[in-house]
Symmetry: C2
Subunit: 195 residues, 2 copies
């Protein structure tokens, strides 16, 4: 039986974006499967008392440099979103809605890149719609999904499960039910997958 | 002219301890010099609004695992101090006092190991005295140093300089006046020293 890595993420987190650019290769190299776990980071922060690094101004200024250094190391584009922080409730409901469907990968890519490469203001429904169309996704289908009570409940349950299992931020990974926090711990995730 | 790496640290920080176990080899490999910058982390937290990760319970629990993982990777002992957090004002005044003297290296080693290997309660003056004696240091000299107004002022000035330059936690490093935060960024410090 192959190993799995659970990936708890929120589109609003730039380090979740960085992790998303790296995790597929790491999992593939280990012959491991990614279990995608969209969660609402705002709910995690509220429940744990944690907050975004940018709430401490000096930490926020440093974080911009730190993100740029990792983007350079990984060789991926990253442009900090000027509309940050964006309320990601609807966007994460979308992820919970597409989960397990053929559209999931396109949706996740479209949202991460719109936020952290194209610097789009995804707080605006019309901008989200443009991004969906550009990714070949159906806006009416998206709107149906994000209003679906079962989808809303799925996101809520995943967020609650994350909190229960010790998650306090994003991205968070579990390998063998052991928590690894942050895209800067992907080397430990890779090691755990190789064990 | 050789490169330098400024190392801002506080004995009360377990990640400063981990950095202290690794930085000498990293600096030596790059032919670089360590500029030791003892500071008061409590002062940095107060000025920046930052706080210890343990103030968020879920983060504190994870931090214990994270520290243990890095200690294993580095092959160094680490035992989380049950008396944490300890007020390090006197201990850091000691570091500022010994700075530039032949006793500095022994003092720093004794304090880091007492806190993060031997789990001593360095909040108690008599325990500090025992540790000093075991390290071959003179207790009367230590007491003179930590009461010296010039030493107190040196620690205060270094802490204020750190804050002014963007430091919000410990350990912090500067290479070419660029800030790197955290023992988990030592690979970036090494890269910056090799440039």
């Amino acid at each position: 039986m192959n190993k799995t890595v659970e990936f708890f993420f929120d589109f609003g987190s730039p380090t979740s974006y960085l992790a998303w650019t790296q995790l597929p290769q790491i999992a593939a190299a280990a012959g491991a499967e990614i279990v995608w776990r969209p969660m609402l980071l705002g709910g995690v922060f509220k429940a744990t008392g944690n907050q975004s690094p940018v709430s401490i101004p000096a930490k926020g200024r440093y974080m911009l440099q730190d993100l740029a250094r990792f983007a350079t190391r990984y060789g991926v584009p990253l442009a900090f979103n000027p509309h940050f922080p964006i309320n990601t409730l609807t966007l994460m409901r979308g992820a919970a809605g597409y989960l397990g469907t053929p559209q999931f990968a396109s949706y996740v890519q479209a949202m991460f890149e719109a936020l952290w490469v194209q610097q789009k203001n995804l707080g605006k429904a019309e901008v989200v719609a443009e991004v969906l169309v550009a990714a070949g996704l159906d806006v009416a289908e998206f709107e149906r999904l994000v209003s679906d009570e079962a989808v809303k409940e799925r996101l809520k349950e995943t967020t609650e499960e994350a909190i229960k299992r010790g998650v306090f931020g994003a991205p968070s990974f579990f390998v063998d039910n052991q928590l690894h926090f942050g895209q800067d711990r992907l080397d430990f995730v890779a090691e755990a997958l190789q064990k």
